[in-house]
Symmetry: C2
Amino acid sequence: MAGDATANGPAAPRSNRPHHADSPYQSIGDFLSNTNNFKIIESTLREGEQFANAYFDTETKIKIATALSDFGVEYIELTSPLASEQSRKDCEAICKLGLKSKILTHVRCTMEDAKVAVATGVDGVDVVIGTSKQLREHSHGKDMAYITKTAIEVIEYIKSEGLEVRFSSEDSFRSDLVDLLSLYKAVDAVGVNRVGVADTVGCATPRQVYDLVRTLRGVVSCDIETHFHNDTGCAIANAYAALEAGATHIDTSVLGIGERNGITPLGGLLARMIVGSHEYVTSRYKLHKLKALEDLVAENVEINIPFNNPVTGFCAFSHKAGIHAKAILNSPSTYEIINPADFGMSRYVHFASRLTGWNAIKSRVEQLGLSMTDDQIKEVTQKIKALADIRPLAVDDADSIIRTYHLELQA
Amino acid sequence: MAGDATANGPAAPRSNRPHHADSPYQSIGDFLSNTNNFKIIESTLREGEQFANAYFDTETKIKIATALSDFGVEYIELTSPLASEQSRKDCEAICKLGLKSKILTHVRCTMEDAKVAVATGVDGVDVVIGTSKQLREHSHGKDMAYITKTAIEVIEYIKSEGLEVRFSSEDSFRSDLVDLLSLYKAVDAVGVNRVGVADTVGCATPRQVYDLVRTLRGVVSCDIETHFHNDTGCAIANAYAALEAGATHIDTSVLGIGERNGITPLGGLLARMIVGSHEYVTSRYKLHKLKALEDLVAENVEINIPFNNPVTGFCAFSHKAGIHAKAILNSPSTYEIINPADFGMSRYVHFASRLTGWNAIKSRVEQLGLSMTDDQIKEVTQKIKALADIRPLAVDDADSIIRTYHLELQA
């Protein structure tokens, strides 16, 4: 990237104070909200394995699971042991690592699947069945009475083995609301640990999520897990809305990899959460390890980190327009809601474009150890903007103009 | 990408019917909502020019403006003519193209800026001033009384010249609510065409957006424009919430490029909107041109299309897990909320991984023109999964296994 300067002189103090502190919109508490009390079910090794490019061998799975546990996620979810023989062996191997995170696997809601899952040594089993009309007709072909009966049988079996159990519907936002609530109520009554709400097709909006989870919060006493696909770009916002409505667990994957364009990304969720829940997020997760974790997964599935990825995208903390740069140099919170230092990242202030203002150039002049008056800085800024109007400028170009101008001043 | 097959045989019918038709959550109307009646202010040539990598020469600006107008956006917003001499000339040149989209430019709220803007020949002027405590202290240093007085003077001048005018606060979600509403009410009273709400730092959540816009809807009678940065990944969801609350205009840029990690992306917004407003979106915008438009901008600013980009990301319509593939082959709406054909895209069903199910292999066998019983297909599926457990499979590998097995059957 051309034309950047790390602004780390005295003009750009890097405070550790959360940037959001002054927001007038975060002062009113909310009884239902779990934005300061949530857990992450990290599904890179389950949902993420359904990503088009994903192929994780045993060694890679162990590396990723270990990195996730070190990062601090509460749960790691693995591909069903019934997917293939190697999937079963890998699941057993990861259970034996003794990681801090609890290990889950994710299977269809049948006794056969549940038995194989329990035998792997996992801490808990996530069972799932499609409940929408679409999936009931075109996938498994079962009715709601059959689904409820099977769910209860499977849940009671897994609990009898001493394991945690989650029961999730699939495609919850296209399921009949009354069917859905009846089913959740029935599984809650037999002591399921968590019910799951899943936007399997990525159609939900934040207000729909809030309404469904809030309604569900009044129907069940168990925990509520949520899973959001990103087809319409709302996976992070939906997760946030779910927590506001009383959900307790959020499914993520590193960079959001999963079926189609994926689910709520781990890093993006934490970018969202840190704004309002700075202490909670920084105390639970080793945010400085986010970039290495994302690089590990990106390399394995052969993708680039998206340019616009929250926090770790190459330009997440780049400031360019003159008025932005000026204010950032005075006080970073003017144009930054996240402190890059919380994630071990740093900010950049562009000073070599036609949009440059003289405050950014002043900062660069100081970084170069040169001495000029404000009027002189304004004059050299005009020279830089004039050249930047004709062609893209690299940082060296701008520095040359500054140094030449400074030399002329001496003469 | 290895291991794909375009599933376009009779097993995967591609209906033009909107996929969302059965959603039980979209049947209740909403008095305030403009999700079926909104306009796009496309800011690739203003906000987008503030993207770290952006340098648009005159020819490129004209190419992008023309493509945006062909695509069908209602407004195109250009960089301030005061940014540089070339910016002013380019603004004049684009005004002279006679595009279908209205041309706007975006300037600070001062008479000096307004006069230069009006002289360029634009259809309207977007004026902006920071209203948060942070920006008032660290950017322009003015108080609310001064801001209101200047805003009225500038608005009346631009209107007297016969142009559209928008007045926006900056950093609206960290501004004092009473200050903000007083200011909007004052500019509405003098006949501003639109007021703008801007989440300049990307801190807003959908419920905050809904609340602020809904409140504002009761205070002003003019149109309401909204602008959302994506620092916490909520820019699309926030735009949707704004429309639900009565906003009329949404700012976008192609791929979301802008300051830091950018704003609401044009394609992502349309992915969100088409789910509930299929007829409105398909009648106004040439969705088949989205990919070419994104490629044009991506090439110019030297970025890759993010792997997870809604609609045009390489895996947006890829299906991999066995149960997903099976259902998709029966009926695409089971796992797709957006019909790829609406955007001139197509879907892929993976059939060469350890997560493959026999239904996907059956579809591939049919595509290859081979004849097998279901039991035979299940047997060859096991062979494919066994090899995929050991190493990544290319489509050729899977085809070879199928063909070899078929040959053995003949023998």
